[in-house]
Structures are given as C-alpha cells and as structure tokens.
C-alpha cells in the first residue's frame, strides 16, 4: 500500500528511472552500435525529463510576469504561481550537450563502418582479434 502510494505521488521519478534503465540496457546488451548510440540518447533524455519534471508546480503557470511595462508598481509576485524555470533553462544546455554527443558517436560509427564494413560488435571484435 505504501509502495503504491509512493509510486502514485512520485511517478515522475519512477518514470525517469524506467527510461534510464531502458537506455542503459540498450547500451549494455545490444550488439549493434547504432542501437547502443540510441540507448545512450534515451539514457540522457531520461535525465532531461527528470530535470523538467522537478520544475513543475501544481496550479502554476509559465514564468512570464504579466503587467504593464513602465507603469509604476507591480503587484506582489507569488513564487508559487509560477513554475520554476531554472531547471528548464539548464536542460537547454544539457540538450545541446546530448545532441553534440550523439553527433560525435554517430561520426565514430561512420568511421568504424568505413574501416570494417560492419557495425555489429561481435564481428568487430572478431576482426580486431584477427590482427
């Protein structure tokens, strides 16, 4: 019962861990290098979703303050009315990093394919041990 409640109230954390493990599984168990790279991408995306979810608040809106510019005083702003933008901003950077990593990994796959004409890890291992 306790566990169910935990899952029901903290489902975002459970989801990101499930996603992360899917990614990790693909990185460890898949034989094809492209599948591994995709697994890596899922792994990183899980963390991005985790960050995005921690900025959320119930009954809150996007953090843009409505008001007439330059016309005297603003009404007092309640932080609880706005979702926290900082984790989202951080994730913009993290998305850039993960795209860059994905690109580099793909480029390496291309390089490996040009050299060995295969992307299957067991075949690569065989070719390497022949030398």
């Amino acid at each position: 019962m306790d566990l169910l409640q935990l899952i029901a109230t903290k489902y975002n954390y459970c989801l990101y861990i499930v996603l992360m493990m899917i990614g990790l599984y693909a990185m460890i168990a898949k034989n094809n290098l492209i599948k591994k790279v995709v697994g890596m991408s899922i792994f990183q995306t899980a963390i991005i979703l985790f960050y995005v979810s921690i900025g959320y608040k119930h009954n809150a809106t996007i953090p843009i303050i409505q008001g007439d510019h330059g016309h005297g005083t603003h009404a007092a702003i309640l932080a609880a009315d706005y979702i926290n933008p900082l984790p989202h901003v951080l994730m913009l950077t993290a998305i850039v990093v993960s795209v860059a990593t994905f690109g580099v990994a793909m480029a390496l796959c291309v390089k490996i394919y040009q050299r060995y004409q295969t992307l299957e890890e067991d075949e690569l291992r065989m070719r390497l041990s022949e030398k």
Partner: protein
Amino acid sequence: MTTYPELIVLAPLLGAFFAGIAAWVESRISYAITLIAMGIATACAASVFTQVLASGTIQYRMAGWAPPMGIELRIDALNAMVLLLISVIALLNLVASYRNVEKETPDRASSFYVMYLLFVVGLLGVTATGDLFNLYVLIEITSLSSYTLIALGDRDKSAIASLNYVFIGVIGASFYLLGVGYIYIKTGTLNMVDAAAIMKTMTDSSAILVAFVLCILGIWIKMALFPLHVWLPNAYSSAPVGFARVVAPLMTKVMVYVMVRLMLTVFGLDYIFDTLNLSQAVVWLGTIAILAGGAMALYQKNLKKMLTYIIVCEIGYMVGGAWLGNQMGMTGAILHIINDAIMTFALFLAVGNMVYRLDRVDYTDLQGLFAKMPWTMAGFVLAAFSIVGVPPTCGFFSKWYLVLGAFEAGAYHFAAALIISSLLCAILFFKVFEICFFEPMSEGHGHDSHGPAAVMEEAPVSSLVVLGLVSVCLIVAGLYSGTIVDTLITPILN
C-alpha cells in the same frame, strides 16, 4: 596588481575559434594562434596563482551577476595550483608535439589544434568554476573534444576505443548531472559554496545521500577508478601521441581534483567521514585499484598500454589517499595530483619521442634504444624512478605522505598496497630498461648485431628540450615538496 581569471578560460576558447578560421588558410597559422592563446592562458594562470598566494581566494562574477544567481569562478590555492599545472603542461606539450602532430595527422593538423584548445578550455573551466552545473557542461566539453581527438589516432583501433569511451563517459557525466539535480531539489542553488552551506543543515536527508553517491560515482567513472577503468587503456593507447601526452597526465588528475573539490567544498569532510562513515570501504577500493592496475600492467607487451595501466594504478593512490579521512592522506592525494601529472607527462613525452622514431612501441621494438635515443631514455629513466618512488624525485614524497596517512588511519592494507605497487613498477620499468639497454638491435632494423654501435636517431630538439625541462621539474618538485605542502596544501585543509 590586476589579474584576469576569466581570460584563463576565454583565451583558449577564442583561440579555438580563430584557429578554426585560420585553418582555411594555412595550418601553421592555426598552430601560431594556438600557441599564443595557450601563452595568454598560462600567463594569466601564473598571475592568478601569485595573486591567490598573496591575498587569498579570488571570486570572479561572470557577466557581473552575483552568486548564487550568477555563475562565479572561484579560485583558491587548490585550483590556482591545478590551473597553473594544466596550462603549463598544455603549453609545453604544444611546443614538444609540433613535429609529432605533423607526422601523425598531416592533413588534420589544424583540426587537431582546434580540438586541443577546446579540450584545454574544458579542463581549465572545470578547475576554475564554482558552479555545479557549469562543471558538468565543462566536463562534457573536455570529454567531447577528447573523443574526437582519440579518434584521430591509430587507424584500426582508435574509433572503436573512442566509441566505447563515449558510452562510458556519457554514463559517468549523466550520473554526475543526476546528482546535481538532487542537490538542486534539496537546496535550490547550484553555487558550490551556497549549496554546501544549505546542505550542512540537512545531513540526515536521504536525497543528499543519493546526490553524493551519484556525483562521486559519476566522477569515478570519468577518472577510471579500477572496476570502472575499462575504457581508459584502449582509448589512451590508441590516441595520437600529441594528444596522449596531454590527456594522460591531465584528464584523470583533473577528475581527481573534482572529487577532492566535491569532498572539501561541497559535501564537506564531516559529512563524508562522520555521518556516512565511508572511509574504510573506499580505501579498500583504492587498494584494489592499485594492486589490479599494477597486476594488469605486468601482462602488457606494449609500452604505451603498460603506462595506461600505471595510470589506473595511480588513480588508486589518490582516491585511497583522499578517503583515508586524515589530513596527511588528503595532503598526499593533493600533492600526488601535481606530482603524478608531471611524472606521467614526462613518461609520455619520452614515449612520444620513441613513437616518432619507431612508430610502434611493443617491447620487441625497443631493443637497443639506449644507444639510439640516449637523451629520451635518460628522461624516461628519471620519470620511471619517480613513478617507482626513488627519493630525490617527486614521486617519493607524495607516496611518503600517503603511507604516513595510511598508518595514521590504521589502513595497513593501503600502505602495503602502496609499497607493493612500488615494487611492481620497479619490475615493470626494469623489464623495459633491460630490453632497451642489454638486448641488441633486432636484425630487421638493418644492423648487424656484431657491427658498429647503432646510429643515434634522436627525436626533434624541441621535444627533447621540453623533456629535459620536465625532468628537472621532477627533481625540483621533489626538493620543494615541503614548501608546496606548507604554503599551498595545508592552508586549504585547515
């Protein structure tokens, strides 16, 4: 005196940009720009270092935003020291490796310099920053540039080694990022000092524990602590020499610095050693890393490969020392960051010279090398002595502090591992010396074994001069290690 801490990071970054543009014209211009950028960074690092020594911690606010909102560069004696180390080694390597780069990547020389600068930007940024998320981004900049640079190396193996490094590196960095997320949930800040102050009030929180475990685990993967080391030997031994010379001494050592920084500034030693009481387990991990690294090095038949396993072994020293839980151990670990960087740099400089002449450095290729490259071998012998821990060289002193710390903490297994690893390293290096000194040149090199002595075929002069300089540093750092400890390390720890 005004200092420009931001220029330490910005000069190489702008340099990378201009070197990339200059690549359209001529790769030699890229080289010149790289050299100038590194020169500026080194000069700034030196001036910041003297400034920190004279008047304490420097805080620089990026774009004028005050912390905890803005990102700050926070430079105390510990990172001033590491900054100077990184910039000097990167600059010297640039001078030493010019011919190696031309020989190994003739058509990609300018891309090499651009990525090299970005790599150094990452390392310097990681060291200078006072912001947890910034640290993650800069670690990734370092890693991304090192993936590409490693892939420029050996035609058959480098791309595969690099891809494996990508997979494991991403897991490491992501764990760290996740840990930072938990810190942010609990404290609402990303500034190291600010987060540390808030976390002091919630030491029994399980979220902080998770954050701690994730951050440290992520950094351990990046620094290749023993069971997590598998990416390192292949990646470093197939990298082009010009890059291996700088990544081997710096990358892992900077990650050790990050670990020490997390321990000292962010989580606090009280939390780690009193609340969590993790010291014992991690010192055992360090012990196992030392023994396993040394044992695996014994099985190698290639000099570069063997040295990469010695790096794994040295990581065990620093992790074990930092987690002994007393001042002596931490002093030894921090001193070993500096000393190990210098020693590994000297070793890889020498190996780079050998590769320049021999192309391959399997043990069988090294026969008669003392006659062929006497100066390179002299530097190699000195660096090897330092790794083994022969007294006037710097390797002895940090090991001495580590052993004293181990006895103080009652971790006799760690002290035993340190001494056994010295013996292992002695065996490893004397095996190499024996091949280089006593075994005659192989027939394949076109020399008759009864014939006249081998012709001297030394590496480029610039490389030799740098090797000589670094070898002198090995002794000087050893002789002045007392001063380094008293003026730099002890004040940080008190």
